[in-house]
């Protein structure tokens, strides 16, 4: 399995994500700098990590979305590579148009940094296959701009097509319909605000996130 993690100036969850990829797949991901215009061939999985890319200038994720490497990521996604965007990575994916909607400032105006209760809405996706439908899990969140917004038509379409992968089971940031993570139409791109990579080892205090990575790797190995 070949994986990569994109690194922007200001990324700060890139190494955590790389550790998670390696822990479940046994192979080290390639770290890709934002100025790179090409990705290694035949990548199976690309991680777009959390952080504050380009200092969140203009809008969270706006600059990163226009960086050369994101065009290569979009091309790889079109060819079927899995793309997982977490936190700032989710913001980058919406800003780049790989996922619909936008992430606004949290409704309460506060930075939210704590464990939150989530419900797995779609357990059929490549990212959630190791969870049960409707399963209650808990991941940490740490964000200021996690308030998911899309027009009613888009929200209805996401719901109707089973593209809401994860939902908050409690009030967190004002997200439309409590959306915490969404899939693209083809199901190979997931953006989510919570951090599964921070809960993969017993030493982290919880391991709910590990199955997300295990399911992905399992699916990729079956595909190979």
């Amino acid at each position: 399995m070949k994986s990569a993690v994109i690194v922007f100036p200001g990324s700060n969850c890139d190494r955590d994500l790389a550790v998670a990829f390696e822990a479940v797949s046994g192979s080290k991901p390639v770290m890709i700098w934002h100025r790179d215009t090409e990705l290694p061939d035949d990548l199976d999985l690309i991680g777009v990590p959390g952080g504050f890319s380009y200092g969140d200038y203009l809008r969270s994720g706006a600059m990163a979305a226009r960086s050369p490497v994101m065009q290569a990521v979009a091309k790889a996604a079109e060819k079927g590579a899995y793309v997982l965007g977490i936190c700032n990575g989710f913001q980058v994916l919406t800003e780049s148009g790989l996922l619909p909607g936008a992430l606004l400032r949290n409704a309460g105006g506060h930075f939210v940094c704590r464990d939150v209760a989530l419900t797995v809405e779609n357990a059929q996706s490549a990212f959630t296959s190791r969870y049960g439908a409707g399963e209650a899990i808990s991941f940490p969140v740490a964000h200021h701009d996690g308030n998911y917004f899309a027009d009613t038509e888009t929200l209805d379409r996401l719901e109707g097509e089973g593209r809401v992968a994860l939902r908050y089971a409690e009030s967190v940031n004002g997200s439309a319909r409590n959306i915490a993570g969404i899939l693209n139409e083809a199901g190979n791109v997931l953006g989510m605000m919570p951090h599964p990579e921070r809960v993969i080892e017993p030493a982290h205090g919880a391991t709910d996130g590990r199955r997300l990575f295990e399911g992905l790797v399992e699916g990729l190995l079956a595909r190979a």
């Binding site: 203009l58 226009r66 606004l104 400032r105 949290n106 105006g109 917004f149 004002g174």
Partner: protein, 77 residues
């Protein structure tokens, strides 16, 4: 040639920053403020002859996120 780009949140999009400013104005004793919406002003110093289409493309491709924001271009001589 200069252009000013005003980027504002679309109606119906929550503006916590505007709310906080409103709250602070209330706190200073300014009653009668019905609502506050905060936006951005971006000033561009452009080569003479930059086309309107190019300025509009800059807004659409980067300066504003048209999912949540409107923009208005004001050219300054």
């Amino acid at each position: 040639m200069k252009a000013r780009i005003f980027v504002t949140l679309k109606g119906g999009v929550l503006d916590p920053q505007g709310k906080a400013i409103h709250h602070a104005l209330d706190g200073l004793g300014f009653s009668g403020v019905n609502d506050v919406r905060a936006g951005k002003l971006i000033e561009l110093d452009l080569a003479d002859g930059t086309s309107d289409e190019d300025i509009d493309a800059m807004c659409r491709k980067l300066l504003a996120n048209t999912v949540i924001e409107n923009y208005r271009i004001e050219k300054v001589a």
